[in-house]
Symmetry: C2
Subunit: 189 residues, 2 copies
DNA sequence: ATTATCTATAGATCTATAGATAATGC
DNA sequence: ATTATCTATAGATCTATAGATAATGC
């Protein structure tokens, strides 16, 4: 069947949308292509007309979700105080909704075990956000902060969010988030 | 065959030893029971005489590796300066050897997706290390640091290590570790 | 006529179980 | 006699491919 010219691209986009959410929610290794295709309203047979392999999908989904989050963070960086921005990351909603949340917190440790091409995609597209962080948030407070300093700041945020997510006691988990906010503020002083 | 009384326990220990390494190296979802048993010198059929399920193994392997690392960290906390301790965590060897390294950096984001019983085990056994960190490292520098503050400090260390592991360029990855050291020192000031 | 989608399947692997085998203590 | 181990297998799922089907543009 010859479909409309944009049909193929729209389908591909829908698959990427679902994949970038499910990978963050369940982990890359734990989510199968059949589930992704099914949630996109398709059967698994169609997958390979859109992507060469699961690893190719992983790279494109990472790219997509990192870029999407970059847009959001750029906006937050412009008009807000440090604390508002930090609390925009370290809050119970973000903790409880990994599917639309930070890619670093959800997938960095798993991406580290993937092929170099995948790590390269992750690193390159995360660098845009790190550079923006360094340029506005960090340098606003102290001088001479580079991409690596932004990575450490991001490490504090994502590492703390992960520990909060792994902590089953709600009150204790909330306290971890609050301690993370204090620590992040301290880093900026 | 009736084996020596300690035989069963030694075999179980060997399985746990292998599992706690492979889970950290490859991720929990990505490593199968057959591979674990094979590296322990056994076939998969024996697994269920030692553990009720894979999830039960996960809990015991987490418990074991968290406790093992706790011992090491306790010793480091006693006789070293802040910087030596921080560099004992954020260094290239630790980055390159996840199998024997920090459980939080390797598995926290994956544990967060596991059943509550597993998260409880993780949280309880990690709390011992967090309390030790709060008691010595943090309170040595600033007053009134609790378990949650230690969790944020640990979040900085583990989150930064994860980003270093995901960064394919060696020099850039090394720079992330160094920035992490600076940030951790800053947190203790 | 083209091509995205479907069903069906290959072949590998996953967790888990059943029943036979073999090594040691009583 | 006991029991940890083995082989074999069930049944589900994984990634990937093959070939039939069907929806739309020329």
């Amino acid at each position: 069947m010859r479909y409309a010219p944009e049909h193929n691209e729209k389908t591909r986009d829908r698959i990427l949308e679902v994949a970038s959410r499910l990978f963050r929610e369940d982990g890359i290794a734990a989510v199968g292509l059949a589930k992704i295709m099914s949630e996109a309203g398709l059967t698994i047979g169609t997958f390979y007309t859109h992507f060469k392999s699961k690893e190719a999908l992983v790279r494109e989904a990472l790219l997509r979700s990192l870029d999407a989050r970059h847009e959001g963070i750029e906006q937050l960086l412009q008009n807000n105080t440090d604390e508002v921005l930090i609390r925009g990351y370290l809050n119970p909603e973000h903790r409880d909704e990994p599917g639309t949340g930070c890619v670093v917190a959800a997938l960095a440790s798993e991406v580290a075990r993937h092929p170099r091409a995948t790590r390269q995609t992750f690193s390159t597209h995360n660098a845009r956000t790190l550079d923006a962080l360094a340029a506005s948030l960090l340098s606003r407070n102290r001088k001479k902060a580079g991409r690596a300093d932004a990575a450490a700041f991001m490490g504090l945020l994502s590492g703390t969010l992960q520990i909060a997510r792994a902590t089953p006691d709600r009150a204790e988990s909330d306290a971890v988030l609050e301690a993370g906010v204090r620590a992040a503020m301290r880093l900026l002083k």
